[in-house]
Amino acid sequence: MKHYEVEILDAKTKDKLCFLDKVEPNATIGEIKSMFHKSHPQWYAARQSIRLDPKGKSLKDEDVLQHLPVGTTATFYFRDLGAQISWVTVFLTEYGGPLLLYLMFYFRVPFIYAPKYDFTTSKHWVVHLACMCHSFHYLKRLLETLFVHRFSHGTMPLRNIFKNCTYYWGFAAWMAYYINHPLYTPPTIYGEQQVRIALIIFLFCQVGNFSIHIALRNLRPPGSKTRKIPYPTKNPFTWIFLLVSCPNYTYELGSWFGFTLMTQCLLIATCSVCDITVCV
């Protein structure tokens, strides 16, 4: 069996960083990354970008050496992707924050509102309902992160956690401030009827969103990173695939619309619009 030699150069400076001899032809890029990590312990595999061309696309971990357009002495270029953090960690942090922060406002923890309101509860039942819905929403997201989602990338750049958390935590705190405020005004346009309809919309979209997540999960066998096109299944909530390719976002938007209607809080409508603009 012919062994390969692999040399890894820095994509910017072209310095020779690593030379591996006697590499098996059926070695994967993932295995090469582990070997590279041994000689450069500060660059763990997740932060390595290995490519054939200094300005080219990153090779996938699953790519096999002998199937790549290289000779028996393969030259790869390395770029440091920077400190990485796992998607799961990021999701748990960015969803855990809103869950806890909202509850702090709901229970009127000191230093948020005027001292005479500390640890009081709102007299409006819609405020309690909103708290339950908001908490349910983020609990659902946390559980989906742990048990439902299958991620194609293990990690993302570290700075993303600061960006994402600022966004999620900021908006959660801001809307919680208004909804749980002592001077909060419950829906006035259609009163109780409005809240009921809003709740139905909210729950409908939560179930819809969950159904889509399950459907997408089932497209991807465990441990794999395949991407397949989703189609409607027997579950009526998935029939929306006929109209939209990422209906989890549609349902998400619907949930927030329901929540806005329920609380009649302008900020949430504004946030949702920004959110969708950013996602799109």
Binding site: Y178, I179, H181, L183, Y184, T185, T188, I189, T263, Q264, C265, L266, L267
Partner: protein
């Protein structure tokens, strides 16, 4: 901070420009030339207005009132530049241009126009003169570039004057916002309080303070970006000139 809205337009015109014609078509070029000529003229009107008012009054206090209308007209007109980027006839970033123009428009309308008491402040003259000189140079730069006939002097001025004008403008802007604060707090201008039907609140006073604070990270970034551009653009020309 928008004092000299130098922008990030990649108009490094020279005779060795690459042949890929991704620029505006003939009609768009004609329109842009007219636009830039009109803007140059407009800011010249403001400049002349300031000088004349100074000579007539004998002092540089309260000159804002003599150029208030053309200032509002031409500064607001700059909003078109966002459209130019969005449509693609100008190769600049919509976000960056939008940010610069909107911050100018904000200062013109939401601060100077809205808080009458600051209109007689000297800080207003400080940023208005900085803007005026900058814009005259900037718009003539664009005009000549579009006509492929850019005098070195204009290019030099555009990439050098900002060294003084930018800090000058920023100082004027900050001082003006600071002067507006007590009046905004007293009158509750543009502020919404609880309780209300939409459960929303906005404190313009706090917003202005946050705006002032935002200058701290933003101004150095923009300033040093311009300095880097200066090195690139003026160094290249010198190289070319020595050939």
């Amino acid at each position: 901070m928008s004092a000299p809205a130098m922008g990030t337009t990649k108009t490094a015109h020279s005779d060795v420009a690459p042949k890929k014609k991704r620029g505006p078509g003939a009609l768009a070029t004609a329109y842009l030339v007219i636009y830039n000529v009109v803007m140059t003229a407009g800011w010249l009107v403001i400049a002349v207005g300031l000088v004349r008012a100074y000579l007539v009054r004998g002092s540089y206090h309260g000159l804002y009132f003599s150029i208030e209308k053309p200032l509002k007209f031409f500064q607001t007109g700059a909003l078109l530049e966002i459209l130019h980027c969005a449509v693609g006839i100008v190769p600049s970033s919509v976000v960056l241009t939008g940010f610069q123009v909107l911050s100018r428009v904000f200062l013109t309308w939401a601060v100077t126009h809205s808080v009458r008491e600051v209109q007689s402040e000297d800080s207003v003259l400080l940023f208005v003169s900085a803007w005026t000189i900058t814009e005259i140079i900037r718009y003539s730069f664009y005009t000549f570039s579009l006509l492929n006939h850019l005098p070195y002097l204009i290019k030099w001025a555009r990439y050098t004057f900002f060294l003084v004008l930018y800090p000058m403008g920023v100082t004027g802007e900050l001082l003006t916002i600071y002067a507006a604060l007590p009046y905004v707090q007293k009158t509750g201008l543009y502020s919404v309080t609880l309780p209300n039907k939409y459960n929303f609140s906005f404190d313009y006073y706090t917003f202005l303070i946050l705006t002032m604070v935002s200058y701290i990270p933003l101004f150095p970034q923009l300033y040093f970006h311009m300095m880097r551009q200066r090195k690139k653009v003026l160094a290249h020309v010198e190289e070319y000139k020595t050939e």
